[in-house]
């Protein structure tokens, strides 16, 4: 009987924490325990330097903010479906000559909605509770220090709690929802349009509707422009659907409409595809077949296709999307790399920090606007 009760309590507790958080914790490595060399694995140092030091035990690390202008940050994937009330706890040793603040940036757009100065403390737990306007996508936490006083942070936790605990608090409002945010009604969106997205949604989204700048199902919704895809900008947002310049996207770029592409061909699976030179063999000359370019799979986005793609059959000077397309084995163009999972443009994996201790991979997805050498 006792074990049944115990198991039930665990089950209820586990169900209550379902969502984008880890057992209710919105912050990864809340104890600064994971160090990749002398760098924090799950935190991004915005400016200044940090150092690993001992906290209550030699083996339990804390992070010291070194210097007079230091800031570390982390973007949490928590969103409106997880809850609207959050409690932030922190254990730190802050000298009175150090000016340390906790900044809360809802949706990580660079606008700090709340800034709390951490009082001088000697390892005393500090707690802040704040409410959030729903819906929202992600919260960026930033701890910044100014001044030369010592500031060591040992534990920082942000947890979604019952909304009743935030009764009476003015919720932090990131403002109208930008394109790519999930939504329930048109009024939530800055664009005034909340539609079912043609794209797969981020893992943290629980609805299929997003704020859009145009209706991709209506050809004239953008006038002289075309309703297409903007660049991905956040792991917690969907790729925005907006009015973009026509025929501006090079071979290999993401698209949802033919008119976006310089080739005027968007090879799609469903609505999500890549600018291509063909979609069928009949569009190719000289007996070539219309084949996927390169070997990097872009699921769920369709791969770009070229005549003779991936077969080393494309002649010099002809369009290509990968080296494997060309007879010469060399496709000259702009190498395109994206963060795995969210499509953010990247050069290195350091730009793909999010949701986990290891950065997301920065994958080369093709060569845009290339021609075979």
């Amino acid at each position: 009987m006792r074990s049944i009760i115990g198991s039930s309590i665990v089950l209820v507790a586990a169900l209550a924490q379902l969502g984008s958080t880890d057992c209710g914790q919105a912050i990864r490595d809340d104890g600064f325990d994971l160090w990749c060399g002398e760098e924090l694995c799950a935190w991004k140092v915005e400016r200044g330097a940090v150092m690993r030091v001992a906290s209550w035990n030699k083996g339990d690390y804390a992070v010291e903010l070194v210097g007079s202008d230091v800031a570390i940050e982390q973007l949490s994937p928590v969103n409106g479906s997880d809850g609207s009330c959050m409690r932030f706890t922190l254990i730190a040793n802050v000298q009175d000559t150090a000016d340390v603040v906790l900044n809360v940036d809802v949706e990580g757009d660079g606008t700090v909605e709340m800034s709390e100065r951490l009082p001088t403390s000697h390892w005393q737990p500090l707690t802040f509770t704040f409410a959030l306007v729903q819906p929202y996508d992600g919260v960026r936490f930033e701890i910044a220090k100014r001044g030369l006083g010592e500031a060591v942070v040992a534990n920082i936790g942000a947890k979604i709690i019952a909304s009743g605990d935030c009764t009476g608090l003015t919720p932090l409002d990131p403002g109208p929802r930008r394109n790519g945010s999930y939504c329930f009604a048109n009024a939530e969106c800055a664009s005034g349009a909340c539609m079912e997205s043609p794209l797969p949604q981020p893992e943290n989204y629980s609805v299929a509707r997003t704020c859009v700048g145009c209706d991709h199902t209506v050809a004239s919704s953008c006038g002289a422009q075309v309703c297409g895809l903007a660049d991905a900008f956040s792991p917690v947002f969907s790729v925005p659907v907006e009015c973009v310049a026509p025929a501006a996207k090079p071979l290999g770029d993401a698209c949802i409409a033919d008119a976006e592409c310089a080739t005027n061909i968007c090879n799609r699976v469903g609505d999500y595809g890549s600018c291509s030179t063909c979609t069928s063999d009949g569009q190719c000359s000289g007996g070539q077949r219309c084949l996927p370019s390169g070997t990097v799979m872009l699921v769920p986005r369709a791969m770009p296709q070229v005549c003779g793609g991936g077969q080393h059959l494309v002649a010099s000077g002809a369009p290509c999307a990968s080296n494997d397309d060309c007879v010469s084995g060399l496709c000259n163009g702009t190498v395109r790399s994206q963060c795995a999972g969210d499509g953010r443009p990247c050069v290195t994996a350091a730009e793909c920090t999010f949701d986990g201790l290891q950065n997301r991979a920065c994958n080369t997805v093709g060569i845009q606007g290339g021609t075979c050498q």
Binding site: L34, N57, G59, L357
Partner: protein
Amino acid sequence: MRKLLVALACLVGTAHADDAIATYAIVVGSNVGGAGQTDLRYAEDDARRVGQLLVELGGYAKERVDVVVHPTPEQLRARINAVADKINADLAAGRHSRVFFYYSGHARASALDLGSDQLALAELRQRLFQLPSKLTVVVLDACQSGAFSRIKGAQPAADFSFNSRQQLDASGVAVLASSSGSELSQESEQLRSSYFTHHLLIGLRGASDVNRDGMVTIDEAYRYAYHQTLLATAETAVGGQHVSLEVDLKGHGEVPLSYPRAATTHIELPANLEGKTLVEDKRSRTVVAETYKAKGAAVRIAVAPGEYRVLVRRGTTLSRCEVASGGTIDLDRCKSEAITAGTTKGGGFERPMRIELSMFAGNERHDDYTDNLYAFGYRNYFSEPSAGLEVLALRRYLRWLSLGGVAGVTVMPTWKKEITGGGDLSQEFDWSQWRLAFVGRAEQWMAATGFGSHFSIYGQLMAGLGIGTTSLRNAEGMTFRDTHVGPAFGGGLGLHVDFGRGIGASLGYSYDYAPVIKDLIGNTHAGGGHRFGLSVTYSF
């Protein structure tokens, strides 16, 4: 000088064997002491028991056994004179006579103390020795009663080298004294009798009948009383008491004092029985016999018809045998039980040492240290208890007080910190605490005898040294160990059960407090809390 058992003269007779010999006994008991003397408790009862035995087993007619309690010197002289008159009358009728004189009471080296009056030993000796009887036996149970012989210049028999068959005669005088001329004679609260008279009576009931001829001679009675009295008094605070014998007899016949074979009821201790044996009259709740029965020969103890309880102690086992109308003791039919610890006559303890091996568990105290662990993200799920083992050694110094030491280890609950977003990565904090402490325990048994004597309750306090160890394995797989030292205190209550043969068990509660383990930011954990334990114990 506390107690003097002075003289007794008796004529021992083969009464039923020779009608031509008349037998007379004067049996005197006096509890009241003289100036500076504490009253005795059992002298008059001893006199009554001697008189009863003479009638029961000595062959004396009841009307010829004169039991005199608390007499004045004048009354005692009158009783001796009365017997002298009867003896003279017998002589005139052509009959010989024998006299048995017994005295239990206070005495000094020169006189019997009969209350506030005294009767000089020299006068008593003269009066008894001048009786015209053929044989006079004097038994004195009093302090310095051996002085009765020194008056004459005779020395008490030193040991068992005395050979009665060669030196005793059927006529003359024999004096059996409970102690030497310089020793004190003692009573026993446990026996409710004097040591000497108690063992003399047991011997006369058959325990001293070495040759098993159904007759106890003065030689057999002396040897038995000497041995048993010395053994029984050797461990008392007063010290050993040596029974002495003076003889001035003629002839080579034996001098019988009792005829156990004449009794209608016997309790027989079989040849294979070995152990300290006690026979109790259930009706009067008095000890009829107490002896150490050695293996090899059976012993028959004559008793009056009635119900008896025979207690046989062998090692740590006590057998209780109920005997309704005599018979042979069969231990297989007796109830046996373990002997509980208790005080011996000499003041020591049976099984004074006890070793305990305990397992215990309980909640760990929450304080600033554990609050800090919690704040740093550590959790000990499901209220995992602290648990441990300890060994405790105690030595009893008073019946209720034992002192000793304890060594033990307590393993405290593991605190675990999951690394959020780190998959299976976690940090674990293990800690334990050792304790070396002095222990003082007060213990109270629920009963002195019977079932309750197996149970005791105790309370204890301890103070000593605590040694704490901590081990933190962090998310990188590195382990950091620390050792801390500090004071340790504790107190507890418990119930102990004795299963016999020194083996037992305890169920206890304790509350421990050991502020030992410290962290780097100024918090100290006072290890301990409420503990419940189960122990196995061994006493020796």
